[in-house]
């Protein structure tokens, strides 16, 4: 059975949403909440760092979360090639931890922006986007005050050259991000961070189910029993 760990920091507030989205797409019981004090994530197939305000976003967004014991395990798993997805605050944490390049700064207009925006998938070559054709536009919610992606020009050029921009704002740039970047991946491509919230868009009744494609991608990537329709049905039946 596939196991996806959703990391919970003090101040995380999208952990349950993320776990529910994982369960809804990959099968009930797939997601496990992992407290920040955990020191091991052995046996985990994928990791999600959820949105929120870890440690109150004191000092800088995500700056203190990187010292949590669990981040050592996240780093170790990332180095082993385990797929890691940082959503919103999770993206900020991954940047502060140096697992992704760049930084997320205060939106250029200074407002917290809560909206649903079109984003274009710029690369299918990650565990989290492989079920999505590059160039496809997704409708995804955003909710952040500090989402302005910044990196120096050399880093931005390198990201573009290596197709490491994973998602890009397709409409108006909602926060002033450099080159409209909404999400990037690591050089090894298994660590992805993005400001939009795919976990808030996994059913039509949520306004959009485009976010489910990110988790479908993970299922495709892991390609194990979780893709067996009988197993998913069984898990669904057990959940009922």
């Amino acid at each position: 059975m596939t196991a996806v760990a959703v990391i919970v920091f003090p101040g995380s507030n999208c952990d349950r949403d993320a776990a529910r989205a994982v369960d809804d797409v990959l099968g009930a019981g797939t997601a496990t909440l992992a407290w920040h004090a955990e020191t091991s994530l052995d046996g985990v197939d994928a990791i999600v760092l959820p949105g929120g305000f870890s440690w109150g976003d004191y000092l800088r967004t995500g700056a203190l979360a990187r010292f949590a014991p669990v981040m050592g395990a996240v780093r170790e798993a990332a180095e082993r090639g385990v797929p890691v997805l940082g959503i919103c605050n999770g993206f900020q944490v991954l940047c502060e931890a140096g697992l992704l390049p760049g930084a997320l700064l205060r939106n250029d207009h200074l407002h917290f922006r809560c909206d649903e925006v079109p984003v274009e998938v710029a690369s299918s070559d990650t565990p989290w986007t492989r079920a999505i054709d590059a160039g496809r536009a997704l409708q995804l919610p955003i909710a952040h005050g500090e989402g302005r992606y910044h990196a120096d020009t050399a880093v931005l050029d390198e990201l573009e050259r290596d197709s490491r921009v994973v998602v890009r704002y397709a409409g108006a740039n909602p926060n002033g991000s450099a080159r409209a970047i909404a999400g990037v991946c690591s050089a090894e491509r298994n660590v992805v961070g993005m400001m939009p919230h795919p976990e808030r868009a996994v059913h039509a009744w949520m306004g959009s189910d485009d976010g489910a494609l990110l988790f479908e991608s993970l299922r495709l990537h892991l390609g194990d029993g979780a893709t067996d329709p009988n197993r998913t049905e069984l898990a669904g039946a057990l959940a009922d």
Binding site: L59, R60, A63, C95, E96, P101, G102, A103, L105, R106, N107, D108, H109, L110, R148, H150, A151, D152, G176
Partner: protein, 91 residues
């Protein structure tokens, strides 16, 4: 005890919308002389170290490890009187 003041500022190349808002606010109040503003952060620490060299060395390491994100900021370390940080700390 030695006090250190660490001033962190956004790099010049980084857009500082808070600074721009401060400029607009001050100009709206009639301060037409204001041309530019940058908003940073100040952290003051009291260190239990032997001498100023040790204080600087410790503060520099703290900047690199946590207090300053050199992707977007730079930091400046200044030694100050510890009692100006916490009353009684200078003793």
């Amino acid at each position: 005890m030695i006090g250190v003041r660490i001033r962190t500022m956004p790099k010049r190349a980084v857009l500082d919308p808070q600074g721009e808002a401060v400029v607009r606010g001050l100009r709206a109040l009639g301060h037409d002389v204001v041309r530019d503003a940058r908003v940073g952060r100040v952290v003051e620490l009291v260190l239990d170290v032997e001498d100023e060299a040790a204080a600087r060395e410790a503060a520099d390491r703290m900047c690199a490890e946590l207090l300053v994100n050199d992707v977007v900021e730079y930091g400046e370390v200044e030694l100050i009187d510890a009692s100006s940080v916490v009353v009684g700390a200078g003793a």
